[in-house]
Amino acid sequence: MGEEVAEVQLSIDSQFENIELVQAVLDASLERLEFDEDSRYWIGIAVREAVANAIKHGNRQDPEKQVGIGLRVVEDTVVIQVQDEGAGFDPTQVGNPLDPENLLKPDGRGIFYMNRFMDAIEYNFGTGGGTLVTMRKRIGSGDPRSGEEDSE
């Protein structure tokens, strides 16, 4: 592993253009952790989807509400967390985008991509509202497109 990567904490307004900032900051951290370019690209997609969900479905684009993003390393795994201030949602209610009746639906693919590109995803719901999404990716685990095979 490369030089030590400090814990990253960001807080953004609920505006989609801020996703670029988040991705740029996290990408720099992932590069220092020696994730290769392809891996960073796919992890970046997962981060984009998580932050977009927080802004759109969590905070419902309320400019008064923030999205918190954190990155830290725990042993051999990078842990990325995205926290919103919304009412929470049930990810199990999102249909499988591969089902024939869903293939041509315009939405419902974001969580599928997050699951595909990361090793593990957890959702926690605060008693006072807000959804905390925790995504884990083992360092050196290769191309995230094969995420299911990388799961431990």
């Binding site: 996703i19 997609i45 041509l104 939405d107 693919r109 991509y113």
Partner: protein
């Protein structure tokens, strides 16, 4: 993200450049497709070669555009997909649902 529009052999070609992602790029793509439809286009191609990143919202716009044009009796096809764009469509099995061609010559020929 910008979308340029041109005509070739009666086919409207849309050329998005940059990121087709939530909030900006997806809206630009939607506007470009809507503009083409309102101009009377029924055969539409999207040259994907300039697309650096696409997220689920961008893919949603592609699917919506495909459905809209098809429902109006037209055809919407994609060509010159960068490898990562191709991969992300493959993962959600859209590569088999959408009309995708290798390059502009093949795409134009598909309308003859």
């Amino acid at each position: 993200m910008k979308v340029e529009t041109r005509q070739r052999e009666g086919v409207t070609i849309l050329e998005p450049k940059g990121k087709i992602t939530i909030g900006v790029g997806d809206v630009a793509l939607r506007d470009a497709v809507q503009g083409a439809i309102e101009s009377g286009a029924s055969n539409i191609l999207i040259n994907m070669s300039g697309v650096s990143t696409i997220d689920s919202s961008g893919i949603g716009e592609l699917v919506a555009a495909y459905t809209t044009v098809t429902n109006r009796g037209g055809k919407l096809r994609l060509y010159s997909l960068p490898p990562k764009v191709s991969d992300i469509l493959q993962i959600t099995q859209l590569i088999t649902v959408l009309d995708i061609l290798d390059d502009e010559e093949e795409a134009i020929a598909s309308f003859r």
